[in-house]
């Protein structure tokens, strides 16, 4: 197999890897916000359930969670899981990362002084206005470094999709390495992850700079 053929084959895998990454970010970032609100709910039962959810998401391997999301519906409801593979991967990743993001958001919320809420209230802002206009922008600034960490982890975690026999980049790299008895696919995979994460770090640093105009 020529190097270019190999690159071409792995390139398709990279696209799938990117799809997992982008869709997971797209779903988990807002879902994390919802989970954070449930986690801070004034209803004890809602808080407790959410806490338990987060504990399970953080306390069990993502690989196991992916298997559960994929095979669970079949064993529990006899659902036909043909064609469901990719959806299961996205659900698994999103549900897991949302739990982590929720905790990061929660940490960010705690950094906002009570006075900000009180000032907003006295000035007549409604609850939603206060959150989206006054609180959230400050939370985002506070949590950017932790979010960057989490996103970088996600780039590398996409390789876990191999558990469900999904041909993302790393799965292909392993297949080619085995069939061609070559070390090169692993080098290519390593370079890919490194470059992708370099781009993530660069982008996040750019966004952080955008928030540098105030302390």
């Amino acid at each position: 197999m020529s190097f270019s053929t190999m690159l071409y084959t792995m390139g398709e895998g990279m696209l799938r890897t990117c799809a997992i990454f982008i869709l997971t970010i797209l779903f988990s970032l807002p879902l994390g916000l919802v989970i954070m609100f449930l986690r801070r709910s004034r209803f004890f039962i809602v808080r407790t359930i959410t806490k338990f959810y987060i504990a399970v998401m953080r306390g069990t391997p993502l690989m196991l969670q992916l298997l559960m999301w994929y095979f669970g519906p079949y064993y529990l409801f006899g659902m036909n899981i043909r064609g469901y593979r990719f959806a299961a991967i996205i659900i698994g990743f999103s549900m897991n990362y949302a739990a982590y993001f929720a905790e990061i958001y929660r940490g960010g919320m705690e950094t906002i002084p009570q006075g900000q809420y009180e000032a907003a209230e006295v000035l007549g802002y409604g609850k939603a206005q206060t959150f989206f206009k006054i609180i959230l922008p400050q939370v985002v600034k506070a949590i950017l470094p932790s979010v960057t960490n989490e996103i970088i982890t996600l780039v590398k975690d996409t390789s876990l999709a191999f558990t469900l026999a999904y041909n993302e980049m790393f799965s292909l790299a392993k297949q080619i390495a085995a069939s061609q008895t070559s070390f090169v696919p692993f080098v290519v995979a390593g370079v890919f992850y490194f470059v992708a994460n370099y781009a993530v770090a660069f982008t996040m640093e750019f966004i952080e700079k955008k928030f540098d105009y105030y302390k």
């Binding site: 002084p113 900000q116 009180e118 000032a119 907003a120 209230e121 000035l123 007549g124 802002y125 206005q129």
Partner: protein, 252 residues
């Protein structure tokens, strides 16, 4: 009467912080509230601005009820929308300024009038610039709060409160977070507002200021109003032993 509070009671977990307090403020009056820490003066202000809910008593602004004691002896507040109406009558300046750090000075002042009161932007902008001139900060309109001194931040906070055109302005220890030099510039602004007949209630530890600027001084201790009246009377010739004691500590 701009503000009428009567029979206000407030407890925090069994500790009675306000015991049957009544306070009336007339248009143009400047009222100073003094007293030791824990006397309930800040809580009184927070109750007046609905940051704390009262347990019992009555609050009215411009004759409109905001809360009244219900049939069970507990305070009952008017509906959310009615309360929002009443909120327009007052402004509050905090000890810690509480400016929005991610907004410029100008945006801090303009945002609520434009987005909460839905007033035209041009009109609000002109008023905001006028307020900044008054606060001696017209060249800092584009600065961010973190670039300002504490005294400047507090003056922006005053401008922000004034931009909503309140009928009465509350100050919760407005200079307690400032060093003496910066305290002066903030007190000067409040004094200027007093001269323009702005109705104000100021919780303060600045005795000379309270004496010079206010029409009435209220001395609070342990959740009750111990003494109140003309500043010259309260400071020069206090009637209550507790007042004498408190003021003596200050003159040292």
């Amino acid at each position: 009467m701009i503000l009428e509070m009567s029979g206000i009671q407030k407890s925090f977990g069994g500790l009675e912080v306000l015991k049957d307090i009544s306070l009336e403020v007339d248009s143009g009056e400047v009222v100073s509230v003094i007293g030791p820490s824990g006397s309930g003066k800040s809580t009184l202000l927070r109750c007046a601005t609905f940051l704390e809910t009262i347990d019992a008593g009555e609050i009215r602004y411009m004759g409109k009820p905001a809360a009244a004691t219900g049939s069970q002896g507990k305070a009952v507040y008017v509906s959310h929308s009615e309360l929002n109406e009443v909120k327009r009558y007052f402004g509050l300046v905090f000890q810690q300024f509480n400016l929005f750090p991610h907004f410029s000075v100008l945006r801090n002042i303009m945002d609520a009038p434009v987005f909460v009161q839905k007033r035209p932007k041009e009109e609000v902008h002109a008023e905001a610039m006028e307020l900044l001139r008054k606060m001696n900060l017209e060249n800092r309109a584009d600065a961010y709060p973190c670039q300002l001194s504490g005294g400047q931040q507090q003056r922006v906070a005053i401008a922000r409160a004034l931009a909503l055109k309140p009928s009465i302005l509350f100050f919760d220890e407005p200079t307690s977070a400032l060093d003496p030099e910066l305290t002066g510039e903030v007190l000067k602004v409040i004094r200027q507002l007093a001269e323009e007949k702005m109705t104000m209630v100021v919780v303060t530890h600045e005795m000379p200021f309270a004496r010079a600027v206010s029409n009435r001084v209220i001395f609070m201790d342990r959740g009750v109003i111990v003494e109140q009246g003309d500043p010259e009377e309260v400071f020069g010739n206090p009637k209550q032993e507790r007042t004498v004691q408190f003021l003596r500590n200050y003159q040292r």
